[in-house]
């Protein structure tokens, strides 16, 4: 029985998702109010980012770790997204000290790429093809991700 139970961390994430318990972490104290509006997915993403972060003043272990500056740049972008319900992003290191976050829902995907110098780009895909993104505002593109199928990305910027 014990051998079939999921690892503790995955079980905790599953429990948090089902119970919708707000997760208070140190990041909630560092970043402003929008973080608190983000929901459980954000805390999980922050935790996953930390796994690839080299400690301050240490040399990179290998090409797949990111600097604290890049990690903080990514967290800052995520903290500005005030969406409660989002799929968990896949957090994947890139070679050359970069990082990729990917959200997928239905046939849509949002990719956030963080480069080694901290610059961040945002892309959208539908049916595995890149679509034009009139904005690189992460929250706007993520809203399109979870919008009804007929919603067009360029309409997402209309006010």
């Amino acid at each position: 029985m014990l051998a079939t139970m999921p690892p503790v961390t995955e079980y905790r994430e599953e429990f948090i998702r089902e119970a919708n318990i707000p997760v208070q972490t140190a990041w909630a104290e560092i970043f402003s109010v929008p973080y608190r509006l983000g929901g459980w997915w954000k805390a999980t993403a922050f935790s996953r980012i930390s796994k690839f972060e080299q400690t301050r003043n240490s040399k990179p272990v290998n090409t797949f770790c990111i600097s604290p500056e890049v990690a903080n740049a990514v967290r800052l972008q995520l903290s500005k997204v005030a969406l409660q319900s989002l799929p968990l992003p896949a957090v994947v290191p890139l070679s050359g000290h970069g990082l990729s976050l990917t959200w997928a829902s239905g046939g849509r995907v949002v990719e956030m790429t963080a480069f080694a110098d901290g610059e961040i780009t945002v892309d959208a895909l539908e049916a595995n093809n890149y679509v034009d993104t009139p904005t690189e505002n992460l929250e706007v593109v993520l809203k399109w991700l979870i919008a009804p199928p007929e919603a067009q990305l360029h309409h997402a910027t209309a006010r």
Binding site: V92, L94, S95, G96, G98, T102, T113, A116, T121
Partner: protein, 136 residues
């Protein structure tokens, strides 16, 4: 050395890239490359010219052990892509032997001059469609 596309890398050359485990996903029961496979945080994705390292077999025998030491893990999958597909995506290929034991077979895939970061990300991401996945 300034970045430029290296004409000594023939367009029919096959490039080999070692893969981080999460750069491979499973969809409909099939393993596929993700957009991260050919992206690099410094926009220089390392590859090796297959014909100059003895093909996939020579790569596994001679290059992979050295890569394992540098990467800190043992890659279990490789990707191969034609140099022509890289150039069709508007990317450049140039030799950077100094980054791997002075081996001239070591090349990097980088953006062409004037390519924006966003365009680079898309074009590098799209290489997953023209590349092949190999399990070691």
């Amino acid at each position: 050395m300034p970045q430029r596309d290296d004409a000594t890398v023939n367009s029919d050359a096959l490039l080999i890239r070692a893969l981080w485990p999460d750069w491979v996903t499973t969809e409909d029961g099939q393993e596929r490359l993700t957009s991260a496979a050919f992206k690099d945080g410094q926009m220089e994705a390392s590859c090796f010219i297959a014909s100059e390292v003895g093909g996939l077999e020579g790569f596994q025998r001679d290059i992979l052990p050295l890569l394992e030491q540098e990467l800190g893990f043992k890659p279990e999958r490789l990707a191969t892509v034609d140099a022509s597909s890289v150039r069709d995506a508007g990317l450049w290929i140039y030799r950077k032997p100094e980054e791997f034991h002075d081996n001239p077979a070591h090349v990097v895939i980088c953006p062409s001059e004037g390519m924006t970061r966003s365009k680079y990300g898309r074009q590098a991401g799209e290489l997953k469609k023209s590349a092949n996945l190999h399990t070691i």
